[in-house]
């Protein structure tokens, strides 16, 4: 857990439930990067869409937080909201766009960096693109694991499935990433 997240205690959440804007700004500042990251990766790298989704998530959170009863961890509850919003947005966009016509992230294979120090950046971009191509059921557990740092139990709670399902989906997600990016299995790329 990041240091800033430790500031979000029951008192802050209670203040948010009472409509306190300062408390809500604290919540926003604490989670905005993580929520935005998931939104970007879930929208195939389209930052404009991610802006909208992030805004909608926090807008919804502002009212929905009154329904938070503390039955689960606040982060679990929040990420459930985020995951549902990303899935809704994806469904909405699939109705608007022909199949496969999502906004693709830049393909790192298109550019040929000359400097070795760009190799890692190249890997990051390739991974982002490959993540965007995974099915949501494989992509979201990966984002919750690597962006949010959640445990398997926490991911299971957010996704509403069993821990075994999380393990299985992460396994398949990792395999698909490895297959799509097998050309990166080269020590020169990693600077080892």
């Amino acid at each position: 857990m990041m240091v800033a997240e430790q500031l979000i205690d029951e008192g802050v959440i209670e203040a948010c439930q009472q409509g306190d804007r300062a408390a809500f700004q604290l919540l926003f500042e604490t989670y905005k990067d993580k929520v935005f990251s998931i939104a970007v990766y879930s929208s195939g790298g389209d930052r404009a869409v991610a802006d909208d989704v992030t805004q909608q998530i926090f807008l919804k959170l502002f009212t929905a937080i009154r329904q938070f009863r503390g039955d689960s961890e606040f982060t679990t509850w929040l990420y459930r909201l985020v995951v549902n919003a990303c899935l809704d947005e994806r469904r909405r966009r699939r109705r608007l766009l022909p199949w496969g016509e999502t906004v693709a992230m830049r393909n790192p294979g298109d550019k040929k960096p000359q400097e070795k120090q760009y190799a890692r950046l190249e890997v990051q971009e390739a991974v982002q693109a490959a993540i965007g191509e995974l099915k949501p059921k494989f992509r979201l557990p990966i984002l919750l694991k690597y962006i949010e740092g959640l445990s398997y139990d926490e991911i299971a709670s957010v996704m509403g499935c069993s821990k075994g399902t999380v393990a299985s989906r992460l396994n398949r997600g990792h395999s698909q990433l490895a297959k799509r990016l097998s050309h990166l299995n080269n020590p020169a790329v990693w600077g080892d």
Binding site: V12, Q18, T30, Y152
Partner: protein, 396 residues
Amino acid sequence: MFFGHVTKDISAYCHGELSSEDSKQFAEHIISCARCRSKFEEVKLGIKLAEQLPQLSAPDHLWRDLEPLLAKQTSSVRSGSGFWTWRVQLAAAAAVLLIAGVGGLWLYNNSRTPAIGTAKSAWQVKRLDGTPRIGSEGISNNGELGVGEWLETDGRSRAQIAVSSIGNVEIDENTRVRLLETHATEHRLELARGKMSARIWAPPRLFFVDTPSAVAADLGCAYTLEVDDHGASLLHVTSGWVALELKDRESMVPAGAACETRPGIGPGTPYFEDSPAAFREALKKIDFDNDSTGLSLLLDQARPRDTLTLWHLLARVNGADRVRVYDKMAAFVPPPPGVTREGVLQLDQQMLETWRHALESTWMGGGGSKVPKPIADAYFKVKNGLSRRLKEMAPK
């Protein structure tokens, strides 16, 4: 839990989500199962790739855009009390400052080591004797060794480190170690001085120890490693296999064998610990003094299982000396079909590997080494991969 293949548990294993007992069973299975090991490498690559995913920064305008929308909704929500308002305003101000600082630090760290969890991971340390120190702090019973931190023992203290969920390392007196890296696909310790004993139950190449003169790569094993004040090291393997590497020089050391290393040279040639003293002395001169005058004595004293040493020596001696080593090996275990004298003398990798396969039973049949064949197979598959990677990395 494990009745067959373990491919479905690979991610859980790498993320430390299996129980200790299940982790051990997983590692034991994967070392002996080629199919699962192949899948393990694939998933490990996937994890390594996923670890590169950066957390992005939300644009600054988001809050500005959001505020007016919130204002519309606020009218329908009861305003916060004065107490909460000033309290959370203070907290919000502090948080913004804190997030800016933490965010900056995160971005700095992330640009250097993108692997998530690397920087915040720590290993548990248990005091065994005296007062070991982590950094400048002495530990009374238990402590945590973070990435980049040194653990040091004096003449009267010892400690035990839990290596994530894959094993443990005992740190002897007068030893200095540092945790360099720990994440799902790699755990790395630096042994600057002193002695450590490692017991690892993990698939090959998850645990590494950097010394001043070589890197010890665990292949599922138990061993002790000592580093003296000059940076030279001595490895004793008690179970499984360990690879010692430095640049293009590598030695594979099975249970019952040992290997020395020297700064600037790297790993010497492995030898079985029950080999004659004169044999070992002659080998040391060949390895570190570039003096092959003792080769005749070494060959005279060699036993069939010392083909472990001779097989490594083939690539480390030249000309007539290589011919003599070949002849001695061929007298013990004739090269199998497809392996020619000319090919071996020209260090044909395929032929060397084929002959090595034929030699394995000789290395493992002796009194000291009881390494199961599946583990040896796993080890040599790793070795082949390592050789390929070293070739790929070599300057053209």
